[in-house]
């Protein structure tokens, strides 16, 4: 293999292409781009073996801004194109960049099957709860009542939860982070990259033109500590500025409840410890609206049945010889017409 020897490790800048970034000034996408470039530098990614695949939407401009290989495909279909790339060459490190409309509306079917098949790729869903590129219509993740050009009286549909959708589809890695939470986001992206199988990362991304501050109830600095639960496998589910709030299972009902350490004889020992291998817990955490659970909600390390698709791809197919092909064409009943 023709590998260019590295004189020094690549930096985040080395993963930026020469193209001028054309998102709206202040868009959350800038922060995500920065985090991804830093992640690739940190993990020592090889740009020649890295492919970014996207669909259509603001987020899907992403590949143009990376110095890796990139394929800007069509609306909703990035998971299908990426599946073909990965099956054809399992050595490639394939990232999919998508949005809430791209992944969950027009491309919902492909997302379902990518996760179900457990194709070994990383999917980043930039969720801004709005259609940005087409100028602000409500999206499948928009909350009921969202006023937009296509729902002037407020949308009447119920939103889909991306993380719950992913868990329902059988995803073995489901994580969440926030565009501006650089340290947290990079940490999550690295774990997503390390996971073998399809990894799904929902990133709350602010669209300051069409849906500004839609996540501010938990992303704003002054509320973040109380409204965000940063989950870590093996650590108690504690949050809050005073680190006294925590989660436990209600004794009389299968649901999570928020308790205060020190109140009513609650001690830290009563707080539930995060187990990322527990799908039921992940589902309850994903469904929680306050606090919002961030980090790796679910990670099933053992290869599941679905990994069969991945392993199929990993088995490099042989190339048939002329003898193989001639034998195939002659298999079964044949007869000779004499000259």
């Amino acid at each position: 293999m023709n590998v260019v020897p590295l004189t020094k490790p690549r930096t985040a800048k080395d993963f930026a292409s020469d193209q001028e970034v054309r998102w709206c000034p202040g868009c959350g996408d800038y922060a995500i781009l920065k985090a991804v470039q830093k992640t690739l530098a940190d993990i020592g990614a090889d740009p020649a073996k890295t492919v970014f695949v996207s669909g259509i939407g603001c987020s899907s401009r992403f590949p143009y801004y990376m110095s890796t290989f990139g394929f800007h495909t069509i609306h909703g279909r990035a998971p299908a194109v990426a599946t073909g790339i990965k099956l054809a060459n399992p050595d490639l490190d394939v990232w999919i960049v998508s949005g809430d409309g791209d992944a969950l509306s027009i491309g919902g079917n492909h997302l379902l099957h990518l996760l179900r098949r457990d194709v070994n790729v990383h999917l980043l869903l930039f969720n801004n709860e709005i259609y940005g590129l087409t100028k602000g219509q409500y999206s499948p993740t928009s909350r009921t009542g969202t006023r937009s050009p296509s729902s002037p009286g407020g949308s009447v549909e119920r939103p889909v939860s991306p993380a719950l959708f992913a868990l329902g589809a059988g995803a073995r890695f489901v994580a969440r982070s926030i565009d501006t939470a650089q340290k947290h986001l990079i940490d999550v992206l690295k774990q997503a990259h390390d996971h073998r199988g399809a990894s799904f990362v929902e990133i709350f991304q602010n669209c300051l033109v069409y849906n500004d501050d839609v996540f501010s109830a938990f992303t704003a600095k002054q509320v973040a500590a109380d409204a965000q639960l940063l989950v870590k496998h093996g650590e108690p589910l504690i949050f809050g500025a005073d680190r006294r709030s925590g989660l436990r299972i209600r004794p009389d009902r299968l649901e999570l409840e928020i308790v205060r350490i020190g109140d009513n004889d609650v001690t830290e020992a009563d707080i539930l410890v995060h187990d990322a291998t527990n799908r039921a817990l992940a589902t309850m955490l994903a469904a929680m609206t306050l606090p919002v659970a961030l980090g790796v909600l679910y990670c099933e390390p053992a290869p599941s049945l679905g990994a069969a698709v991945g392993s199929l791809a990993d088995r490099q197919p042989v190339s048939p010889s002329v003898a193989d092909l001639n034998a195939l064409l002659r298999r079964g009943d044949t007869w000779t017409v004499a000259g």
Partner: protein, 628 residues
Amino acid sequence: MITNTLPLANPQPLAAREPLESVVVRFAGDSGDGIQLTGNRFAAVTALAGNDLATFPDFPAEIRAPVGTTYGVSAFQINFGARTIKTSGDSPDVLVALNPAALKVELPRLRPGGLVIVDAGSFAERDLRKAGYAADPRKDGSLSPYRVIEIDISRLTLEAAKPLGLSQHDALRCKNFWTLGLIYWMYDRDRGVTTEWLKKRFVDEPLVAQANIAALDAGHAFGETAELNGELIGYSVAPASLAPGLYRTITGGEALAWGLLVGAHLADLKLFFASYPITPASPLLHALARLRPLGVTTFQAEDEIAAVCSAIGASYAGSLGVTSSSGPGLALKGEALGLAVATELPLVVINTQRAGPSTGMPTKTEQSDLMQALYGRHGESPLAVLAARAPSDCFETAIEAVRIATKFMIPVIVLSDGYIANAAQPWQVPNVEAIPPFPVRFRREADGFEPYSRDPETLARPWAIPGVPGLEHRIGGLEKDSVTGAISYDPGNHQRMTDLRAAKLDRISADIPEQTVEIGRDSGRLAVVGWGSTYGPINRAVSSLIDRGYDVAHIHVRYLCPLPRNMGEVLRRYDRVLVPEMNKGQLVTILRAQYLVPAEGLNKVSGQPFKIDEIEEAVLARLEQPKR
């Protein structure tokens, strides 16, 4: 593997049999009667006996329709002979009807004076009622134009198979092999191959194998005995004079699968095949899935769109991406085909056409997707379109599609149809070593790399696959600069790119063979121009008209887009041009528009192939006088 060298030693003196040049036999029964199996076995031994042949499986869309109903009738037609066989035959000479429903549905096809063999054991009051017969057709005179042989096949099958210990129900299921035994006797076919096949097929159920063999033998013995009474006549059909070589029978589905695999080999690429199940295209998916041990990656996608998109992804990553479907599925793939055109990636799309619009008649054949293949996309998105003419032609057509797709970096649609996919024909097995290879050269050099620079001859852009250092670049559906591939909204660039994509077709046109005339003079009074599976009936009709002294020629088009560079000139050499198509006039519209020739259409959309007679009549109507 069974290999025979012709001529076969004949077990019976030929003199005892009446010689036939060719004959059309149609097997019909309930969809649970094993009719397709029976027909395929008969085709296999007929091929081994050295006859030329063409088959036409005609089965219902229902997997298991209620027993005995007319919509549950499954049929299999075979035309075989000592002469060259071009079609599965206009009208059967022999109809085997295993129940009243089959008789009711199939009788109108039988030629007057033809032979009907019916299972008398399945004509109870209840069977007649299910088939919708008010009176027993054997008694009301409706069979009088035909020769009728009534045999209680059900009872005779039970007598043969039941002593082996099968239940009444299971023993009766051997009815098809009893019938096959009788037909084998009629046409002097060897039972050995079928006996061996049954043993292998039912290796885990030896009792079932024995029962079917017993039924086969009993049917055969019945023929011998009945002959003594003068009821049945035995025939002999001499071997056809095929070109020397090794032969096998092949269906269109198999030939496409093997052609794609060999095509990928010739291009030095791995084959990636993605498809979503759809009638009548699925046999191709099944055939290729079985070839996984030979390095084929098959992917059953979640839908038609994912199938084409994953194939595009695979091509992008350096495999040969292939997807397949039928008309409704091709419609769904349309947007992605635009992406393949814009990103200039090789892609092969197989469309096994069926009767439309919408769900239409999924098991019936039609040629109504030509316009969709040519124009069914948004924007100016030219791509190449080829059509296979017969099952045996699918192999070469698939290889040619791979060659064009990889040489010109362009999607290629191959049009097959439901008839070609399922029909079988003898095929002279080629030696893969003798087929000229066309290995792909991926871009490896980083120096001077521009993703949209072009080969001056083909206008193909470099195929630069991920994994090669220094070639990192971005492509996509947005319009790109004609050299650098960077996003461009420049008006001049869009004009240039649109022109370049169209010019690729001109380069392909210069690369493909010129249009030839199949049979007949290369100028004259009338040319019959066809494409796809109308080949057989057109060719037979034209050759018999030429034999009768008429000035007519047959031209058959494989390259539908771009058309061969001499096409207009060829058409203008004839006074009249007739274009038979199983659609409302799609190729004829193209020919008229492109060459301003007064071509006329001959159109049929009944879900059934053209009959030779229909084409002969249409030609004769335009050539009132014989000319010599």
